[in-house]
């Protein structure tokens, strides 16, 4: 059994705002996640071949939080840029939200490490992942910027401020401005209650 931190959307939002305020105060879009991770936080982003093939994973962060290992096909192929950006934001979520849990944790060898992994059950793991996902989405699509961009997109269009009432093309345009996937944009709009699906 492992105690997953109870983090409300507000808690995660607060953590995200701290990161943006400190590392990207201009809040210009798209949020330069790779630069924040590499330049501001000094975390190495390391491409690794066959992470997908061998382990079915996109990325993982080293236990000491100093390196993020990313599947090479995500890292090197510009066609996957948005997924790569979200992956970095997600991993930063683990480092920011969950890093404290491992700060004082010492594993006494690989066996101890694997034993610890086994103590995290599937439901707990999903909670950790969901929190990191929320952090990633909020970081790449901050609420204030989302409101501004929705206003810009709808002003003069004769359409309501509800992006769900708009065409797929407009949703796509919003996603382009933030350099995220349309599904990420959909989730953020829903989370912030800025549209009614």
């Amino acid at each position: 059994m492992f105690n997953v931190p109870e983090l409300s959307l507000g808690d995660i939002q607060s953590a995200v705002e701290t990161v943006i305020g400190k590392h990207h105060p201009t809040r210009s879009l798209p949020i330069p996640i790779e630069e924040i991770v590499e330049f501001n936080l000094g975390i190495n982003i390391v491409s690794v071949e066959n992470l997908h093939k061998k382990f079915g994973v996109d990325a993982f962060t080293s236990g000491d939080g100093k390196d993020i290992f990313v599947e090479d096909s995500l890292y090197s192929d510009l066609n996957h840029l948005r997924r790569y950006r979200f992956t970095l934001a997600h991993e930063l979520g683990h480092i920011d939200l969950h890093g404290g849990f491992y700060k004082d944790k010492t594993f006494y060898g690989p066996d101890d490490w694997s034993k610890h992994l086994a103590e995290i059950d599937a439901a707990e793991h999903q909670l950790f992942e969901a929190q990191a996902d929320r952090f990633g989405g909020m970081l790449l699509v901050p609420r204030k910027q989302l409101e501004v961009e929705i206003d810009l997109l709808t002003s003069g269009s004769g359409l309501s401020g509800d992006p769900f009432a708009k065409s797929q093309q407009q949703m796509c345009e919003l996603a382009n401005r933030f350099q995220v996937s349309e599904s990420c944009m959909y989730v953020r709009i829903t989370q912030e209650k800025l549209g009614a699906p």
Partner: protein, 129 residues
């Protein structure tokens, strides 16, 4: 990878690249370098390359041939080329092992599968040696 290890070449390389405002990935893509190799080079895991490759790096880093910065890159490379490659102790390796794994659908990897975990340890170790 002990604290005592000096990685002056890698640090200088990284600093010059950062001064161009390019992340490692952007720098590698722009110049068609192998990003994995560059990452190892900057982290001091592999020794600096030979002169020909170094000249390509210098050009990509916008270092004018014959300038102080150009000489510094080559001097640091020469100084570091004799160093033994950095290894990673067992203790350091364990500190690097991950706890969370981002899969396509957010599932865990098969942690009960000893072979998978051994492979994962090998992959992590490979990134530091």
């Amino acid at each position: 990878m002990t604290d005592a290890h000096i990685n002056a070449f890698g640090d200088y390389f990284r600093g010059r690249r950062a001064a161009l405002g390019l992340t490692l990935r952007a720098f590698a893509l722009k110049n068609r370098f192998d990003a994995g190799n560059l990452s190892r080079l900057e982290r001091g895991i592999i020794s600096p390359p030979g002169r020909e490759t170094l000249e390509r790096y210098a050009e990509a880093l916008d270092l004018r041939n014959g300038s102080d910065e150009w000489y510094k890159l080559f001097d640091l490379a020469a100084a570091q080329s004799g160093q033994a490659p950095i290894g990673i102790s067992d203790e350091e390796l364990v500190a690097k092992l991950p706890v969370f794994f981002r899969t396509l659908r957010g599932q865990q990897i098969a942690r009960e599968d000893v072979k998978i975990l051994d492979e994962l340890i090998a992959v992590v170790k490979q990134q530091y040696s």
